[in-house]
Symmetry: C3
Subunit: 280 residues, 3 copies
């Protein structure tokens, strides 16, 4: 890494490590329209990191709840026609009030409904941060994808993540986080890669959804959404590292619980010490 790059990485690391204290002081209310598979973990991850979660998805209240929140998280994991309408109504309200919108296009590429909903949401709502795996973000980039369910396909793994992230960030004018073995965050100008986390994270459902929600928590307390995205992704990766040290040998049930434990005890010092940020 160049000296300039190194200074830049140190500066980002410092920035994201400071964000967690700011977040815990502000306790932002994060409105989630999300799936019923991982919603409990999403709520507990938000509480653990210092935010206050609220879930509401009926069209008659969803915009009202968004209006009192500091961030809106939209996750299409178990979408249906009723909730898609609510996602769009809440997204528009958030745009109107300058509230950040974090979008997780779970399974985009896997069905026409998910593809259409993803396009419709991106068409009608200005997104602040988009987070997905490489298959999902490749779909948003307009690439042909071969998604198998909600995981990145082996075929799609060959895509150049940094290029995909940069291209989507530029076309949507937002920050993009692609999570995987190495996470990539880009806003089209800045880019950072994060090597925290381990492959056991993929053996617990909802670690992606939780990451998206954590980004929402940081975005509710920090107006630079690129930094918020990096903070959310780094927090989950570091929690995954700590959890693996404590409970990796016991199995995925204990590992799951240890992730929440680690998030709830995370602080600036731990983030500064453990964050593995790099340019390449």
């Amino acid at each position: 890494m160049s000296l300039k790059g190194s200074i830049y990485m140190n500066s980002i690391t410092k920035s994201i490590s400071e964000k967690i204290d700011e977040l815990r002081n502000k306790v932002p209310l994060v409105h989630n329209i999300t799936n019923y598979v991982t919603v409990n973990d999403v709520a507990n991850a938000l509480l653990a990191i210092g935010a206050s979660p609220i879930m509401a998805d009926d069209i008659e209240e969803t915009a009202d709840i968004t209006a009192i929140s500091s961030a809106l998280v939209i996750n299409i994991g178990t979408l249906n026609k009723r909730t898609i309408a609510s996602m769009i109504a809440s997204g528009k309200k958030a745009n109107e009030l300058g509230i950040p919108v974090i979008f997780d296009p779970v399974g985009a590429g896997a069905s026409k409904l998910r593809n259409d909903a993803t396009k419709e949401i991106l068409n009608q709502v200005k997104v602040s941060v988009l987070r997905g795996n490489l298959s999902e973000v490749s779909f948003v980039a307009g690439l042909k994808v071969s998604t198998k369910g909600v995981d990145t396909s082996e075929e799609d793994e060959k895509n150049d993540g940094a290029a995909v992230a940069g291209s989507v960030a530029e076309s949507l004018g937002c920050a993009v986080a692609i999570t995987g073995a190495v996470d990539i965050i880009s806003d089209g100008k800045r880019v950072v890669k994060i090597s925290n986390g381990n492959k056991m994270l993929k053996k617990v459902t909802g670690t992606g959804c939780m990451t998206t929600a954590l980004i929402g928590a940081f975005a509710g307390a920090e107006k630079d959404y690129f930094t918020a995205a990096a903070s959310g992704v780094a927090s989950m990766g570091i929690a995954g590292d700590i959890a693996f040290e404590k409970a990796g040998q016991m199995g995925t049930g204990s590992y799951h619980i240890a992730i929440i434990d680690a998030l709830s005890t995370l602080d600036s010092k731990i983030v500064a010490e453990r964050a593995k940020l790099h340019e390449e």
Copy 2:
């Protein structure tokens, strides 16, 4: 505390400590129309305390399920038009058959939909126990509230909980439980405060919902709903205390699991030893 007060508290403590054995013998079926965020914990808390949970929310079966149950728990945490109709249909059936109805107006005060649903349910259904935080119960009392999401606002904390509980209990003719740093249970005539539990309970989603469901379990086995409400609230508070001793230092994930552990191993002796009941 006066001697008379002290005797009264000892008598209530004895009463609620005996209830848990009765509950475990009876294994009441508790029908829950509840939110999808905390529903798994609600089911596991009910099993842990000795009840049998059933969840059903379609209008075509909801009254049938209520009819075979010993208690009905209505929780509007993620309400929608479809489930509001089911709540009312089940509530009416419960009233018809003399089955107790426990109502948790989650987030009342935070949106027009929640406000309207709360009023409509209370208008059409005779409730046996109402449980909420101070903001939610203040809303039911007709006070102006400044709820932020699903937590009690700082502004609303200034309300006099005992007065609010008593007023709602009288106007609805039911028992009222307001949970918070100190819990208050009132039926308009009797009042008891409970100081078990600790602030970590607020860092795990669903501890309020579980408390409401536990009240349902006790009400399914005990016709004095004031005692049932105190028993449910005390059980969660004591479980929170035990869990904090065992797992508080590990983080909120382990604490969450330890709450269920504590509920599942709770017995009359533990309740009698640990319950912190008082008048003032």
Copy 3:
């Protein structure tokens, strides 16, 4: 047990112990249309055993998701009119493509809606494996049942499980698994009983749903659905045994987590050593 019976049991035990390695190699995608109470555990159990879960229930995508999956799991735990239509559409698509369908008629016998939905699904969809408790499968067998909620009633416990399983297996032309104190798997010709597991499994919600999903995982990797059913049931029973040894004394919260731990660390050797299969 006769020598012939003993050889047969050894052969089945060997067969199901080998299946787990095959499953972990294949990583079948398992589509679940299931209830919102236990869905998180279902997803984590599928990941733990080596499958990849996907949940989707909107009529506009449900058949598309089934079409890319290796197995379809239908669970009516919190059914509603919207999802019943999706279950049937997905079931038909699975039949069309030769994808196995695992059906869990949760609470059949407890309400007209559940009874009607169970009949309608069995009428329109060819099922590969049916899993339920004795009350539920007795209902499918056309026997009069006295189900109390989602547990087997004491009255129904008197039914002859092996006869019920065999009769349903023959009439539907599928494998049938009745889980309880002793599990029974039959395809009308072959029958095996499994004595793993312990009564604490009933104190954690979702262990039945998880068993059904595990059968789906094995059926996604193994075309003999009788063996797949026995493999799924044995896996959960063995996980229940291991979890009880590790965490039974701590309470049902820790036991719950230990079940997932045990599933995630299960291998052919453990299954071969611990499986308790017998004819009578």
